[in-house]
Structure formats: structure tokens, C-alpha cells
């Protein structure tokens, strides 16, 4: 396992760097049965920074991302997001972390529009849903139940909910799975825009070339 760091996207003087680290993982280890998926992993990410997690199938990418999102527990080590453990965020910090994994988080018996409305209501966002569905080519299926969508369309609808939260940290597990080249371009653009706004992202991917840019922290599992 190796963690390499390229220069950040935006020039960051060292004294700002010190305080600007928002996501911190220290000496993180996860054991499954007898085997360690990873051991002694350190990771520090600040605004505008993208952590790229690469590794073979079964190397622990998803496990790492779930631990960073506070959805899983590490065997040892510490994760903090802006000073608190991600599974015990203070009330005003709640909702700062978004996670999109293999499960799309949509109710199969509701339509695309109903699902998006639900997310927007829960996160208290007033986003223009029509424009959002247009951007992802979902406006034709707005009133179709998610159950009847193709895998790629379900993935698009799932990723659309990213725009319906005000999260500062995006944790994405292979976001481009099932997407066509057009959809991949949109998502890569969204990640770039999120970083540009001062957001932070951790992305697990098998196609790191799409996202390799300055400011990437590479985590090889």
C-alpha cells in the first residue's frame, strides 16, 4: 500500500495547509477474519483535494470508503471529519458527508421525480429538479418508477441526488459504473466543479485516468 501526494490544485501555503485538513485518517486498519484488508493507512485531505482510491477487486476500497463515511467501523485507527468522528457528527455538521456506493439509495416503487423530491426535502434543498433531470437525460423518465429503469439510468438518478445535498465531502464508490461516456463526462465534470467550490472528494475507481489531475492524493490498496 502506498500513499503518494501531488501538489494541490490550488496553491496552498504551508500555514494554511496545517489548518485546512478536513478529512483525516490516522493509522487506519481493517481486518476481515484473519486477513488485514489494509493496515496503518494515513490520509489527509483538505478543500479542493481529491483522494483517489485504486486497487484490485477485494482490496478493500469499498470498506475504506464506508469507514471514511462513518458507515463502517475500523478495526483500529481514527477517522475525523473537521474534528469529529464521521459517525458522531455534531448536529450542525450532519449532512456534510455524502456517500454514493453500489446501492443506489432510491426507492424502486417511487418514480424518479418522487425520489429526487424526497431527497431534496430531507436535505432542505430548493434545487430545480427539471434542470437537474435535463442535465442527466432523465427528463423523459421523470414519472417512471425506478424499478423499470435501466442500470445506467438508475445510476444516473442515484448520482443526481448528489446535487440535492449540501455535502462538503463526497465519497463515491466507482461512480462511473454502468454509465455511458456521456454520463461519465458529466460526473467527472461535477467532481471537478465540487472541488473548485472548495469541496473535498474521495473516489474509488478502476479508471483513475479520468480523474487524474493536479491535487490528487493517490491511495493504492
Amino acid at each position: 500500500m502506498r500513499v503518494g501526494q501531488n501538489p494541490p490544485l490550488v496553491p496552498n501555503p504551508w500555514f494554511l495547509m496545517q489548518s485546512a485538513i478536513e478529512l483525516r485518517a490516522r493509522d487506519l486498519s481493517v481486518r476481515r477474519g484473519e486477513r488485514y484488508l489494509f493496515e496503518g493507512l494515513d490520509l489527509e485531505l483538505g478543500p479542493h483535494q481529491l483522494g483517489l482510491v485504486v486497487g484490485a477487486n477485494g482490496s478493500g476500497k469499498t470498506t475504506l470508503l464506508r469507514v471514511l463515511a462513518g458507515l463502517g467501523a475500523a478495526t483500529s485507527g481514527l477517522v475525523t471529519w473537521r474534528g469529529s468522528a464521521p459517525d458522531r457528527l455534531a448536529l450542525e455538521q450532519r449532512g456534510e458527508i455524502a456517500y454514493r456506493g453500489h446501492l443506489d439509495g432510491l426507492k424502486k416503487d417511487l418514480t424518479v421525480l418522487e425520489n429526487l423530491r424526497f431527497h431534496a426535502a430531507i436535505w432542505g434543498m430548493r434545487t430545480d429538479l427539471d434542470a437537474l433531470m435535463n442535465a442527466l437525460g432523465l427528463n423523459g423518465v421523470a414519472n417512471v418508477r425506478v424499478r423499470h429503469l435501466s442500470a445506467g439510468q438508475q445510476r444516473r438518478a442515484s448520482l443526481a441526488t448528489l446535487k440535492l445535498c449540501a455535502a462538503k465531502l463526497w465519497i463515491l464508490d466507482e461512480p462511473t459504473t454502468n454509465l455511458d461516456s456521456d454520463g461519465r463526462e458529466t460526473i467527472v465534470g461535477w467532481i471537478g466543479a465540487h472541488l473548485g467550490r472548495g469541496g473535498t472528494a474521495v473516489v474509488a475507481t478502476h479508471q483513475p485516468d479520468e480523474l487524474k489531475q493536479r491535487g490528487v492524493v493517490l491511495v493504492e490498496l
Binding site: 446501492l103 426507492k107 424502486k108 430531507i122
Partner: protein, 221 residues
Amino acid sequence: MAPFVTIVLRDLRIAVRRWSEAANPLLFFVIVTTLFPLALSPSADEMREVGAGVLWVSALLSSLLALEGLFRSDADDGSLEQLMLSPVPLGVTVLAKIAAHWLITILPLFALVPVLALSYSMPITALPTMFCALLLATPTLSVLVALGAALTVGLHRGGAIVGLLVLPLTAPLLIFGTRATDLGLHDEPTAGPLYLLAALAAFTLALGPVAIAAALRVGIE
């Protein structure tokens, strides 16, 4: 409050779209209560004596049937982890899920109980007490069922185990519920058992969501 209503409405909408699933516990309740007279001697006096007990036990068992869908479907499609990461406190989410479960599986029982009570030749004067007792006991029942569902959300087949976990805990409800109904049948003061049911409801509704939220956090990993 707004997220609470949003989650309840979402679950109600899904239940309407999957109404055949939602109707299962009700049909079970009707079938079990009509099977008893066939097995026992059909004299009106005896029916009246066992009626309250049969209705209460059938109501407890039928509520167990609906418990699979309480958290399992949300866990399977990833919407539970999205709700955990949302700004809504998990306790509020849990309470909303319990409220929706109560509205879907328990509220229709109130329409069936008078019909079935009459078929057990219980006097109409006993119905108000029966309704009061059900109204006070069923929130506790829903919380207990939700606790069982949350503890087994990580298992792929929880069905039988949940019954073993939850049914012993429902004993106080059964004791005080049938006691209140019996006292009502014989025109005696019913306040005692009703107060105890109300105390149980206050206790479980206050502390239950905290325990259920903790169980879900463990179960989702």
C-alpha cells in the same frame, strides 16, 4: 417536523403501491380470529370468554408479519444509509418509520376489531375499552417490533429469530390489554391496566428510538 412528515408520507406511498404486501398482516388477523371458533365449541358464552384473548394474540402475531419490511427494504436498496448520512437525526427517522408502520399495519385493525368482536358475541359496550387498550398498547408494540427488525437488519433471513426476540417482550401488553378488555366486558373500572399501558407507551416511545438507532448503526455495517 417536516422531515418526519416527509418520511411518513414516503412510506405510506410505497405501501399503497405495494398494497398486497401491506394487506398480508390484516388477512392473517382475520383468518386466525375466524379459525378459533372452528376449533373451539361455538357456544356464545365461551366465545365471549376467549374472544378478548384471541383478538389480542392475533393482533400481536399479525404485527410480526409486517416487520420484515420495516428496515430491511431500506437497508437493501441503500436508502437507509442515505438517511443516516442526512441532516435528519437518526432517532427522528426511526420514529417516522415506526409511525408509518403503525399507520399501515395497526390502524386498519381498528376497523376490523368491531366486526370480529361482534362475531365473538362481545357486547358493544366493551368496544370503547378495547379500542382504548389497543390505542395505548400498539405504539409500544410497534416500537418492540421495530427493535426486533433493527437488531436483525444485518442478517439476511431474520424472520423466525425476530419472533423469538420480540414475542416475550410483548407479554406485559398482552396481560394488561386482555385484563382491561375483560374488566370492560364485566362493567368494572378499567383505569388501572390502561394507565399501565400508557406508561409502557411513554417509556418505549421515549427510549426505543435511541436503542433502535444504535442497533441500526451496528446492523448496517
